[in-house]
Structures are given as C-alpha cells and as structure tokens.
C-alpha cells in the first residue's frame, strides 16, 4: 500500500510541484505597494535609475531586475484614476517608480529575473 502511494506521489508529482500559487491576473489592478502579503515584505519598491533595452534590464544604485519572456509588466495609472494597462519594456522609463516581484519568494531580493513589474505611468517627481 505504501509502495503504491509512493508511486502515485511520483507519478502525479508534476501536477502539484509548482513554484507559485498566486493569481496573477488580478495583480494588474493592485496599485504599486499594495500587493497583499508581498509589498513591503517580498517585493522591491524603488525608482528606475537606468534602463537597458538591449539587455532587458532595469535598475538603480542598489538593485536591478531582468525582464524575461515570462515577466508581466503593468502600468499603474491609479493616481490618474485610469485603468491599469499591460506594459512593455518601453514603459519602464528612468525616473518612474516601480515595484518588482522577483521570481521566487525570498524576501530582500534585489536582483534577478522579475516575475512581475508594476510601473507608475508618470515619473515619480511629477
């Protein structure tokens, strides 16, 4: 019986060993800094210092994030009372406030591939 259970566990393993269980679609509409259980704990909040379109990388003095094919980019327009939109690398402009959720769930990460990035539509000092 134990052996059979072990087999089943291995055979079904691909179905439940998954990196994240969070629902991504609603995340788009959550403004920067308000993602429950993530903002202020796991994500990095800051301002874009540089953007390297070729290397698909953004960063600042102490942090950087790589944009992969899987990275979601959302443009947070809640301050303008407008709907959040799906963004591209071109929206990640220097001077804009961002929130970066890196792949994985470790706190304090400041570099690596991003799972999602929220960027404010207007520069931070505007």
């Amino acid at each position: 019986m134990k052996r059979a259970a072990g087999f089943i566990a291995i055979a079904l393993g691909v179905m439940f060993v998954l990196p994240a269980l969070a629902q991504k679609s609603a995340e788009r509409y959550i403004p920067i800094g308000q993602s429950p259980g993530l903002s202020g704990k796991v994500t990095y909040l800051g301002k874009i210092g540089t953007q390297d379109e070729k290397a698909k990388k953004i960063g600042g003095k102490e942090w950087s994030a790589t944009i992969t094919d899987k990275t979601h980019i959302w443009v947070d327009r809640s301050k303008q009372k407008k709907t959040a939109t799906v963004g591209t690398l071109a929206d990640l402009k220097a001077g804009h406030r961002v929130e970066v959720k890196y792949e994985g769930s470790e706190a304090g990460k400041k570099e690596g591939p991003a799972e999602w990035i929220k960027v404010e539509a207007e520069p931070a000092d505007k």
């Binding site: 089943i8 079904l12 269980l21 969070a22 629902q23 679609s25 259980g37």
Partner: protein
C-alpha cells in the same frame, strides 16, 4: 491598530464558537475581557456580509450565502429578488457586457472569472461554481502555500487565504470593467484582510475526521470500506479521511487533472452559450484543479469546478467514466493497479460511497447544530435565536442529505423532531427548554448513524 466595537460586534454577528458565550453571559456574572480572536472573527463576519468595498453592491456573502452553506446554486438563485447584487450584470449598464453570463448564472450557478487575464473580456473567461468556505482550516494548506479557489491559485499577492479578498473585490465587486482602485472599488485594508481570514477559518469543522468511523448503516459502512480501499474506490488517495488533503506524501491539499473538463454533455455546454474551456492552475493552465473536501460535499452541490454534476451519486459515478479514467489522474491510478484499472465501481458501489458521504455530511450538520445550540445557552434572547436559526438550518440540511439518499429513517425522524423544537426555540417559545430537548433529539439521531464511544 484594529478598531473594534466589542459588544456591538458580538451581539450583531456572533461567531459560532462556545468561547463567545462567555462574553455575553448574564449581567450578574463577572465581566471577562473580550477574546481578541473572537472579536476578530465577529469583525470578519460583519465585513464578509456587509462590506461592499465601494463597489457594485456585492459583498463576499452575495455568492457565499450563509443560508446556502456559503455557496449558491440555481435553486437558491431562483429565490432571490431581481435587484439582488448577484444580478448586477442585469441592471447595471456598465456591467451588462462581459462581467457575468446571467443566463448561465441563473441556470447553473456559474460565475465568470478572468483567471488568465483581462485582455480579452469577450472570450477570455471561464465559468465556475462558487466553492463553499466551510472547513477551510483543514483543507487549503500545502507545502507550496495555500490553495484557494477551484484551481488553487485564486488569491493575488502571496496567494494566501488572507489575500483572497483582494482578488475577489477586483473581479466581482467592480462598478465598471476598468477596475480602477479608488474609483470602481476600494481595496480591503490590512485590518479587514486579517478579520476576513479569521472569520473564514472559523467556519465549519476545525479538524479532520479520522476514518474509519464506526458507522451503523450497512450501506454507508460498505461505502466507507470502498472509499478507503486502495484497490477499489481509491478515494482516500486524494481525499484522505474524506477531506481535501492527499493521503500520501504529506502534500496537504493538492491539484490533479481528473478530466472533468473532458466530460461530455456538460449542462452549461448544452445551452449553446460560449463556455470556454477551463485550463485550471496557472496561465496558461496545466489542467489541474485542487481537491475539495468531501465531508461538506453532500449539501453543497452541484459538483466540480464547473457545476457539471448535480447529485452526489453522479459525482461519485464520474470516477467510473471515460473522462476520469483517461485523465492523467485516472491513468496514474491504472498504472499502479495490478489489473490496470483506474476506478471501476458497480452501480451499487457508487451508491454506497455516496451514502457514506451523505452520512458524514449529516454527522457534520449534527455537530454544527449542537455547537450552535450549546452556544445559545446563557446568551441574550436575540443572540440565542440567531444561533438557533443556524442550528435549524444545519438540522434541516441533515434531514435533506439523509432522506435524499433514502438513509437512516429513524435518524431522520429524530432530526425532524429536533427541527420542530429548534423552530419553536427560534420563535422564542421556551427557547431554553426546546433547545435542551432538541439537543437530546440530535444526540439520538447521531446515535443512529454511528456507534457512540
């Protein structure tokens, strides 16, 4: 800092736990400081049923109805007035298109979800039933985090039950499809999320059953054997102790592809309306859905994520069919079976497993009824009636669940007597006396179902 109004909260929305009774005992007894945990639950209850978050008028309780075991089905929906917030898509112009599919909601209790994103509102949706929120304490944890919703990934943020409400507000509470926070809704505060989580975790049973139970009925008893038999029913593999956790590998709640999407003649498909396939967990989905608890199943149908099967017997029979046996989960069972069989039960065995599920559901109803009536001792008249009404609901569910399967006529008789007494207690007629007698009737009913220790 959490701001609570202790006594108002407790009187207005009592949580069904006995410790709360201590907070509202008669004036002559010493006043005890409020239990912060109970206050949080009471606050969560208030938010769950009353807070619209500045949205379209819906609350969590719009779909998770207490009077319908924290879910809804077509039969219940038919009793609602046309201006119920459930039907906002029918009377709010901004939500008329692509927010719900009213016809499928009314016919099958299906709710629209944009789980793979909001880019294509016209075609990018799935229709799912409303999972009940009972027994969450025992049924959503996994090594990878909480598994919420039908595919285990229902919550945004960190994916926890605490975060679930944020996604629900964005999906279901919005005034417009633009979904702008601060305009179309407001997001729940940290304090509200704490309270909502506490309330949801307080609902229903707080611990797992331990099978086998010493059942008295011959058919339910046989059903339990089949359920637990690793070569026959094999149910215990994914529903250990008839709960939501896997019976192997310390996985807790797990996702499986059981082929429900491949069922032919699904009711919602027969209507002919657009009903896109549901790919389950993730984007794109991997075809898996998480395992629901079975203890609460018999009185919370329809079954599966798409409400495709109406009866508990039908839900058990599903595992006999081609959709399950050709699915990854079915094939895995077959690969580990000496005869290469996934699940193959005779009709009598299907009914026996369903009878077992009916009995454990009724036992849980009786447990909850007793808890409510016990909680109603030495509380104010108003609170006592409130708890009695909940006990009545549970007792009636037990009657329906047992009589629907032609099971335990003697127990049903005791339950009917209990219901009559609780009904009287609800109307305030000799409440204490009727509650005491109802407790005895409930105990007699339970004794018909299971050997008492």
């Amino acid at each position: 800092m959490v701001k609570l109004r202790p006594f108002h909260l407790l009187l207005g929305s009592i949580a069904p736990l006995t410790s709360i009774v201590l907070l509202a005992t008669c004036a002559s007894e010493p006043v005890r400081p409020p239990d912060p945990g109970q206050l949080l639950i009471a606050r969560g209850r208030e938010i769950f049923f009353k807070e619209t978050f500045g949205g379209n008028g819906r609350t969590c309780g719009t779909c998770h109805r207490e009077e319908s075991n924290f879910t809804i089905d077509a039969e219940f929906i038919a009793t609602l007035p046309p201006d119920d917030p459930l039907f906002v898509a029918e009377f709010v112009p901004a939500l008329k298109k692509d927010f719900e599919k009213p016809d499928l909601m009314r016919k099958f209790g299906l709710i629209l979800e944009n789980l793979d994103g909001f880019a294509d509102l016209e075609k990018g949706f799935v229709l799912r039933g409303v999972p009940h929120t009972l027994g969450l304490r025992t049924s959503i944890e996994s090594p990878g985090g909480a598994r919420t919703g039908w595919s285990g990934d229902g919550a945004p943020g960190d994916g926890s039950l605490r975060s679930f409400a944020v996604g629900a507000v964005i999906q279901h509470f919005t005034r417009r499809l633009d979904r702008v926070p601060g305009v179309d809704f407001r997001l729940p505060t940290e304090e509200e999320l704490d309270a909502l989580e506490a309330f949801q975790l307080s609902l229903g049973r707080q611990k797992e059953l331990v099978l086998p139970l010493p059942l008295k009925g011959i058919v339910p008893k046989r059903g339990q054997e089949i359920f637990r038999d690793g070569t026959l029913g094999k149910c215990n593999n994914c529903h250990a102790n008839a709960g939501a956790n896997a019976g192997f590998g310390n996985l807790g709640n797990a996702n499986f592809n059981t082929g429900v999407e491949d069922l032919v003649d699904q009711p919602a498909d027969l209507v002919g309306a657009l009903n896109p396939p549901d790919d389950g967990l993730g984007t794109p989905g991997d075809g898996t859905f998480n395992t629901p608890s079975l203890v609460e199943a018999a009185d919370t149908g329809p079954f599966f994520h798409n409400n495709s099967i109406e009866t508990i017997e039908g839900a058990v029979a599903f595992y006999n069919g081609a959709a399950f046996n050709n699915s990854p989960a079915g094939k895995t069972l077959a690969a580990n079976d000496p005869n290469g069989v996934g699940i193959r039960l005779e009709a009598t065995q299907v009914v026996a497993v369903a009878a077992f599920l009916r009995v454990i559901n009724a036992l849980d109803n009786i447990r909850e009824s007793i808890a409510q009536l016990e909680g109603g001792k030495r509380v104010s008249e108003e609170t006592g009636r409130l708890l009695a009404r909940r006990a009545l609901k549970e007792t009636r569910d037990a009657i329906e669940v047992l009589s629907g399967g032609g099971l335990h006529a003697e127990a049903v008789d005791h339950l009917r007597k209990a219901a009559e007494r609780i009904d009287d207690a609800c109307s305030g007629r000799y409440r204490d006396d009727n509650s005491k007698k109802a407790l005895k009737d409930l105990a007699k009913a339970r004794a018909e179902l299971v050997e008492e220790k």
